[in-house]
Symmetry: C2
Subunit: 279 residues, 2 copies
């Protein structure tokens, strides 16, 4: 009995997704609310998440799953029961609106929030000197004093696409691959001329989006060229040539899952070790 | 020597624009920063503001003026000096980004932040059940459980336009007129399907925008008709038929000033008592 939960949160209120002792986390808030709603112990409602966001990172389109004990007798095929469940979960999470449950649904056969996704999309917001600075949005927008050249940031974004070893952009985690397929990395200016970066990959290693954005800012500020960044990626070691950008500018926007019939197959693929083709 | 200051702020951090004992206000923060920058006493840098926003109301395009003592010898005709001044004022306001100074400039002859405007524009944001709820934006967006009918809200908005007595929408203030010209009151849904109301008038009486929005919500929810609202306006007394909406959904977006040659004339007009034509 697997439940899929779609949710969003304001990262400022949390030390990230993952449970940590004595620190507020989204996972802790959510599992506590689930335990209340189902009247079970916390260890009966352990969640598995699509994107383990760091402290301060926001989410609009996060997804997780939880396996409910059969004994609870929750009727996942009943739309009314699911709607009531969504409402009660929102209620248990409180009125402060730091976490919002978009929807609770029955996970289809083979669905795994973490391993089934084919892609994840993040957004990064930068108000440079050319943008209007809107204090209402300061909690999820990084303010920079210089003007950034969007055209060269987009040139870099194009050049970085594809299946590559992104070790230069990753904080090392033992046993974790750094081979990723970057599918989109583009910038536009919104109505307030704020630079909004769109970053899509099959998956991201730790701090990868913020490091990619750091390289784009270095290029946009004229400190590095696209060739510099490509050369450093080729070298394959974490670099200090650009900075990892602050967490609060980053938001997890969307998780892409395959059609139901490919969910299990995709999860198996994802779990397998990755290699670059003929590299 | 009159200085014009364009600024924005996050209303959540303040008990409104106006100074109050023992409560944080934008005016207090700004005048304190001005006193620091010019090394004068607080009473030498009293500000006059275009829109006296209530507690919790945000501003993106607020404008105020301050008359500086001649003895300070500030050279308002020197663009570099104004740029330095802007920077120092931002610095004195601190790093928390609750208030942001867009620009400091020399006020043209006849400019009065409060009395010269020809119009003011506000925005009101409502995420109803049809909208995506983005927890990053919860600080300046009101969340409603029902779905609101935007078409009927726009019909009401059109019907309310023009020069009228808006007493039904105003919290009474002695000696203050309630005759206003409503120039625009329209709704659209943004990318996230959030209802964004645009409200423009020559000026607003106290709580008028939030009360106008309250009437639109009552109409959008099917509780009142446009005719009901028009009839209640005609009666000219404050009503409980609709609610004054919460402050945090409201933002002052823009102040419109006339061309420099009409500034003084406009200020004189504004100060004169108002009457409805042949009412």
């Amino acid at each position: 009995m697997r439940l899929r939960i779609d949710l969003g949160y304001d990262g400022q209120a949390f030390s990230g997704w993952a449970k940590q002792p004595d620190r507020p986390s989204v996972q802790d808030s959510l599992e506590s609310a689930l335990a209340t709603v189902f009247r079970v112990e916390r260890d009966q409602v352990k969640t598995v998440v699509a994107g383990r966001t760091d402290a301060g990172v926001h989410a609009v389109g996060q997804v997780c799953h939880v396996d409910l004990p059969e004994a609870l007798g929750v009727r996942l095929d009943d739309a009314n029961e699911l709607a009531r469940l969504t409402k009660r979960l929102r209620g248990a999470l409180g009125k402060d609106n730091h976490v919002w449950i978009h929807e609770v649904s029955a996970a289809p056969e083979g669905f795994d929030a973490r391993f089934s996704p084919v892609a994840r999309r993040y957004e990064y917001r930068i108000a440079d000197s050319h943008a209007l600075r809107d204090p209402r949005l300061a909690g999820h927008t990084v303010w920079r004093d210089e003007e950034l050249d969007m055209a060269s940031m987009n040139t870099l974004g194009q050049a970085l696409l594809g299946l590559h070893d992104f070790a230069a952009f990753c904080r090392a985690r033992e046993g974790a691959t750094t081979i990723r397929e970057l599918q989109e990395f583009s910038w536009l200016r919104d109505e307030q001329h704020v630079l909004v970066g769109r970053v899509v990959a099959d998956a991201f290693c730790h701090s990868m989006v913020r490091s990619l954005v750091g390289s784009a800012v270095a290029v946009g500020a004229g400190q590095l060229s696209t060739d510099d960044v490509l050369r450093l990626r080729q070298e394959g070691a974490r670099t200090s040539a650009w900075k990892t950008m602050p967490a609060h500018g980053l938001t997890l926007m969307e998780i892409y899952y395959p059609d139901p019939e490919h969910l299990a197959e995709r999860a198996e693929q994802t779990r397998a070790p990755r290699r670059l083709p003929a590299d």
